[in-house]
C-alpha cells in the first residue's frame, strides 16, 4: 500500500482511499449511501445536521461521516441499530417544526428532506406541541424568497455566501430554536450568484421568486444545454413543462467549466425564449411597413435584391454581420453562404473588439492563441493575473473558480488594471495605472530600467511575476477601459508579456470575451477581413458608416441603436435583410426579416472562451414558423448558382470537424461523440495536457 493511501472497511466492504479522504466521500465511492443535509462536496464540512452519524469501531459514540477523516484500518458501520435510531431521531427533530406542506411545496418531489424521511425516517411523529412559526415568505432580494418554517438550518446557503461567493450576504440570525436565515440588518440579498442557494437548499426554504408555486418537479423534462449568456459556457439543464414551456435553468456540473455553479444572469435569463414578442413568420416591407409573408416570398426577395446589388456593384458590396451568439453551425453556414453562394468576403461579427490588428502584428495574436489554456487550469495555477479584466462582469462564474483556487490551493492573484473589480480584494498585489499607460506598464514589468524606477505597487506585481509555478493570465481583449486608440497597443503589450513570462514559467491565457460564441466567430473567419486568417480588420460596422456597402445582412446582430449614426447608414443601404428572434432596432429598418429559432429550440454546438466545444439540445419547439439560422441560410442559398447542401446540423458539425483549423481532428463528427461535457479543441488545454 502506498503511504498516502489508507484502508477502510465500510459495512463489510473494504476500500482504499487517499489519506485525508472524508468518510462520507469514501462511502459514496463504494456505493454506500449515508444520508446528509448539511454536507456538500463543494462546501467545507460543518457537521451541524447530524444526519450522517455512523458507528466507527473503537469510538465511544457515533460520529458524523462528513467531518471524520478516514484513518487506516478504520471499520465503519452505517446501518447498525444505533445508527438507524440516531437517523430516525434526527429526522424526527428536523420535522417537528417543519410545516410538512409537501403537497404545495416547490421542492416536493425533488426534496432531500422528503426523500430521506421516506428512506430513513421514523414514519410517525410523537410531537404534539405547538410548532414554531415565522412570517413567510420573506423576500430576501430580487431573486430569492425564503420560507423560514421549511428551513432546517443546514448552513449550506450561509456557507455558499461565505466560502464560495465570499460576499457573506446570508447569515444566521438569533439563537437556538429561534434561529433563522437572513441578511445583516435585513438588507436585500443582491449577488451575482444568489440562484445557487436555491439548488443548494436541501428543502423548499430558498425558492426562486420567479418560479415559486408555478410548477411541480415531476412535470418537468430535462434537456442538457449550454448557458447562452456569456462565453464561459456553463452547463445547464433546461427544465421544460409539457414539451412547451421553459420553467427554469439549473446547473449541470462540468468540473472542467463551471464547477457546478451558475450566475444569476445565466440562471434567470430564460424569459426571452418563450417571450410573446418572438417573431413567428418572415416579414417583408411593403409600403414602408413590415408585413407577414411566406418563407419563399422572403427568400425570393432577398435573392433578387442581393443578386441585383452584386451585378451592379460587385458581391463585395454586400456586407454580412453575424451575432456571436449564433451556434457554431449557424456561424459556419453564414460564412459559407456569404463566401460561396453570394461571393462576398465582407463579413464580420458584432459586437467585437473595436480595433484592428495588421498582418504585421499577427505574431501577437498567435502568441496569445498558442497560450490559450482551459478554465480548470486556474485550479493548478500558482499565480493568476488579471490584465484590465473583470471576470465578475464578463464571465461571472470565472470569479468563483478564481476564488476557489485562491482559497483552496494557495494560488496568488495579481490585479493589473485601471480600477478595482470584485476580485481586487483577493489580490496579493494590485497595480493601477492611467488608462493610456497600459502599454508602458505591461512592458515595463520586464524592462530592467523601468523595473528599477517603478513604484512599490509595481515592485509587488513584479515580484509575483518573477516567482515560480504555472501562471494563468486573464484579459479582456475588448479593453473597455482603455482609450480606443490604445487598445491595439494593449493587446500587443499583453503578447509581449506572455512571451517574456514564458521564458521562465508555464503560461496559460484565458480571454474574457463578450458574447457566448465569440471564439467560434473568430475561428470560423466571421471577422473582417478574412483573407489572412487571424488578423483583425477594421470593424465592418464602422465601414458601414462610411458608406462602403450597398446591402447588408444582419444575422442576429443588432448594432443599430448602439452604434451612433448607424441608423442613417443602414437606411441609406439599397437592401437590408435581418434574421432575428425579436423585432430588434436593426430589424425595424430591414426590408426582409426572418424569424430565427433560439438555442433552446435547436440542436447545435458552441465554442467557449477556452475553446471547449459543447452541445446544446432542442428543449422546446420554436415559435410559429421560426427556423434555425443554418436552415434558413441553406434554403436561401438554393437561389444562387452555388447552393449549400446540408441536410442536418450534424452534417455541418462534420464539415467543421473536417475543415476548420484547430477543430479538424479534434472535434468528433457526431453530437453523441462530443458528449455531454464537450471536448476541447485547439488550445483549450489540449496542448498543455499532451
Amino acid at each position: 500500500m502506498a503511504e498516502d493511501r489508507v484502508h477502510v472497511t465500510i459495512d463489510g466492504a473494504q476500500t482504499e482511499v487517499p489519506k485525508g479522504t472524508i468518510l462520507w466521500e469514501a462511502a459514496k465511492d463504494i456505493g454506500v449511501d449515508i444520508p446528509i443535509f448539511c454536507y456538500h462536496s463543494k462546501l467545507g464540512p460543518v457537521g451541524v445536521c447530524r444526519m450522517c452519524m455512523v458507528q466507527v469501531e473503537g469510538m465511544p459514540k457515533l460520529t458524523t461521516a462528513c467531518t471524520t477523516t478516514v484513518t487506516d484500518g478504520m471499520v465503519v458501520h452505517t446501518r447498525s441499530p444505533e445508527v438507524e435510531k440516531a437517523q430516525r431521531g434526527v429526522l424526527e427533530f428536523l420535522l417537528i417544526n417543519h410545516p410538512l406542506d409537501c403537497p404545495i411545496c416547490d421542492r416536493g418531489g425533488e426534496c432531500p428532506l422528503q426523500d430521506q424521511t421516506f428512506q430513513y425516517g421514523p414514519g410517525i411523529s410523537r410531537f404534539v406541541e405547538r410548532k414554531r412559526h415565522f412570517v413567510k415568505p420573506v423576500r430576501l432580494g430580487p431573486t430569492i424568497d425564503l420560507d423560514r418554517e421549511r428551513c432546517i438550518l443546514c448552513w449550506r446557503c450561509v456557507r455558499f455566501t461565505s466560502e464560495v461567493a465570499e460576499d457573506n450576504k446570508l447569515i444566521l440570525v438569533d439563537r437556538g430554536s429561534e434561529s433563522f436565515i437572513g441578511t445583516f440588518e435585513a438588507e436585500p440579498y443582491v449577488s451575482n450568484f444568489s440562484g445557487n442557494v436555491i439548488e443548494l437548499c436541501p428543502v423548499g426554504a430558498l425558492t426562486s421568486h420567479k418560479q415559486r408555486f408555478t410548477f411541480r418537479p415531476w412535470e418537468l423534462q430535462q434537456h442538457p444545454s449550454i448557458c447562452p449568456h456569456c462565453p464561459m459556457g456553463c452547463n445547464i439543464n433546461i427544465d421544460v413543462r409539457d414539451a412547451q414551456e421553459v420553467i427554469r435553468f439549473r446547473s449541470r456540473t462540468n468540473e472542467a467549466v463551471d464547477d457546478g455553479w451558475l450566475c444569476d444572469r445565466g440562471r434567470f435569463g430564460y424569459d426571452f425564449i418563450g417571450s410573446p414578442d418572438r417573431l413567428k413568420t418572415p416579414l417583408i416591407r411593403e409600403d414602408g411597413t413590415l408585413r407577414p409573408a411566406s418563407f419563399s416570398a422572403a427568400y425570393r426577395l432577398i435573392a433578387e435584391r442581393l443578386q441585383r446589388v452584386a451585378a451592379e456593384a460587385g458581391p463585395h458590396s454586400i456586407a454580412g454581420i453575424a451575432s456571436p451568439r449564433l451556434s457554431n453551425e449557424d456561424l459556419f453556414v453564414f460564412r459559407r453562404f456569404l463566401r460561396d453562394s453570394v461571393g462576398s468576403e465582407s463579413i464580420d461579427y458584432w459586437p467585437r473588439p473595436e480595433y484592428s490588428i495588421d498582418s504585421g502584428d499577427s505574431a501577437a495574436l498567435q502568441t496569445l492563441d498558442s497560450a490559450l489554456t482551459s478554465i480548470d487550469r486556474i485550479d493548478s495555477a500558482a499565480l493568476i493575473v488579471l490584465i484590465a479584466a473583470d471576470p465578475s462582469e464578463k464571465e461571472p462564474v470565472m470569479e468563483l473558480r478564481i476564488r476557489s483556487a485562491l482559497n483552496k490551493r494557495s494560488a496568488q492573484l495579481v490585479d493589473i488594471g485601471i480600477h478595482d473589480v470584485p476580485l481586487s480584494g483577493k489580490a496579493s498585489a494590485v497595480l493601477r495605472f492611467a488608462p493610456d499607460q497600459i502599454d508602458g506598464v505591461l512592458r515595463g514589468l520586464f524592462l530592467a530600467a523601468a523595473r528599477e524606477a517603478g513604484s512599490e505597487e509595481f515592485a509587488g506585481a513584479r515580484e509575483l511575476l518573477d516567482g515560480d509555478g504555472p501562471v494563468v493570465l486573464l484579459y479582456d481583449d475588448s479593453f473597455p477601459d482603455i482609450p480606443q486608440e490604445r487598445r491595439r497597443d494593449a493587446l500587443l503589450s499583453l503578447a509581449y508579456m506572455v512571451d517574456n513570462l514564458r521564458e521562465r514559467r508555464q503560461v496559460g491565457v484565458i480571454p474574457l470575451l463578450t458574447t457566448s460564441n465569440e471564439m467560434a466567430a473568430r475561428d470560423f473567419g466571421v471577422m473582417a477581413p478574412n483573407d489572412s486568417g487571424s488578423v483583425w480588420g477594421e470593424p465592418l460596422v464602422d465601414r458601414l458608416l462610411s458608406g462602403d456597402y450597398r446591402a447588408a445582412l444582419f444575422w442576429g446582430a443588432n448594432p443599430v441603436g448602439t452604434v451612433a449614426g448607424l441608423t442613417e447608414a443602414v437606411e441609406a443601404l439599397d437592401f437590408v435583410a435581418v434574421s432575428e428572434l425579436r423585432l430588434s432596432e436593426t430589424a425595424g429598418l430591414a426590408d426582409v426579416v426572418l424569424p430565427a429559432s433560439c438555442f433552446a429550440e435547436k440542436v447545435g454546438t458552441v465554442t467557449n472562451t477556452c475553446r471547449r466545444v459543447q452541445v446544446f439540445s432542442e428543449a422546446v419547439p420554436a415559435p410559429g414558423m421560426a427556423r434555425p439560422d443554418w436552415q434558413m441560410l441553406v434554403e436561401l442559398s438554393q437561389r444562387w448558382d452555388n447552393p449549400l447542401s446540408y441536410a442536418s446540423p450534424e452534417a455541418i458539425l462534420a464539415d467543421i470537424s473536417g475543415s476548420v483549423p484547430g477543430y479538424a481532428g479534434r472535434l468528433p463528427t457526431s453530437y453523441r461523440r462530443v458528449g455531454p461535457l464537450g471536448v476541447a479543441v485547439k488550445g483549450g488545454g489540449v496542448e498543455a495536457a499532451e
Binding site: P45, L62, K85, G176, S177
Partner: protein, 436 residues
Amino acid sequence: MAQKTVLFKHLEQPEIHRLDVYRDAGGYGALRTAVNDLAPAEVTQMVKDSGLRGRGGAGFPTGMKWSFLPKEYDTSYLVCNADESEPGAFKDRELMERNPHQLIEGCLLAAYAIRARHAFIYVRGEYLAIKELLDAAIEQARQAGLVGERIFGKDWGCEVSVYRGAGAYICGEESAMLDSLEGFRGFPRLRPPFPAVRGLYGKPTVVNNVETLANVPHIVANGAEWFKSTGTEKSPGTKICSISGPVNRPGNYELEMGTPFRYLLEDCAGGMAGGKSLKAYIPGGASAPMLPGDCQDVGIDFESYPAAGSTMGSASFILFPEDCCIVFAQLRISEFFSHESCGKCTPCREGSRWLRQMVERIEEGGGREEDLPILLDVTDNMVGKCFCALGDFATSNIVASIRHFRHEYEQHIRERRCPFRPHPAAEPLLQIAGVA
C-alpha cells in the same frame, strides 16, 4: 477534611485586592521565581506534577492540557474562561472581585509556561464591574512592571486584556469562546483541530477557568507536593463551592476536595432555612444531574459524584427544599437550555425546545402517560449526538428528575395539575438561574 483557605485569602486579608497588600503577602513572588529561575517547561511540569485539574467542570488535568501545544510555534495565546454562565455558579466572580491579582498572576504564569505573549480574560457580559476592576488591576500591575514588555527585566513579556462577552451560555464552551473573542458570533468549532493546535486566531491556545489559573501561583510558590497534600489523591487541592437555594448562609466556601457535601450544607451554609428538609440538590450547576436530598455523604471531588450518579462540575450546588415542585424546577432548567442552545446542531436546537415544551405541558396539567417514555427517548436521541457537550447538558436533569422523582411527574399527569402550586420555594432558584 474541611474548610481551608488558599484561594480565598481575602477572607483573612480583605485589602488583598490592592497590589501592595497582594505583594506584601508574597504575591507575584511565584511569577518572579518562574521568570527568573524556571524554564517554561518546568512550570508546566510543576503543574502536571501537582495533579491540578480544571475547575471549570470537566476536571481535565491542567498541566497535560498545556503540554498538548505543538513542539514549535511562533505565537500562542492564553485565554482565561471567566464566562461563568452555568446556573448556580458564582465562584469566579468572588475570586475576581476580591483578589484580582491572584488571577492576573495565574494568567501570567500560564502564559509563561506556554510562551504566550498575550493573555485574554473573557468575562461574561454582565460582569461589567468586574471588567473595570480587572482593567484597573492590570493597569496597576503594568505600572509595576508586572504586565507588558520585559517582565522582571527578562526577554519575555505578556499583555493581559479583558474582554466582555455578549451574553451567551455557549460562549463558555471553549471553542465558541474563541469565536466570540475573535469578534464573531460564538459557535462551537469542529474538533480536531483542538485549540491547543489551532485556537485563537488559528494559533495554539490554552483555555483555562479562573479558579484553575488562580491555583497556579500557589503551586509554583509552594510546590507540587504541597498542593497534593490537600484534597484527595485524584482530586488534589481545594475547591470553591457555590451553594444557593433556601439555606441559612448561601455563598461561596473553599473546601478541601473530598469534603462531604453534608459539611458544606450544615457547617458552612448553616443548614436548610426554616427547618425544611432537603428534597434534592444539584451539585455542579444546572448541567449536572440532580440527586435526592439524602445523598449528603458524597465527597466533593471529581470521583465521588460520578459514582453517586452525578458530576461535581463547577461545584455549584443548587438546593431544592421539601416543598419545591421538581417538575417546575425542571421546567426552569429546561427553559434555560432551550433559550441558550446556540442552534448550530439539530438535536440540541430542536430537542431542547421540545423537552421544554413537554415539561411545560406536564407542569401545566396537560401531561399524558406516554410523555415520560417520550421525554426519555428524546434525551436518548440527543445524548452523544450533538455537536458539543451542551446538548448533553440539556438532557441530564430530565433523566435525573424522572429517575428520582418519577412519582411527582406521575402525580402531575394523574391530577392534571401541579400539586405544589403556588411555588414559593422556587423563587430564589428562579432568580439565581436568571431565567425568570
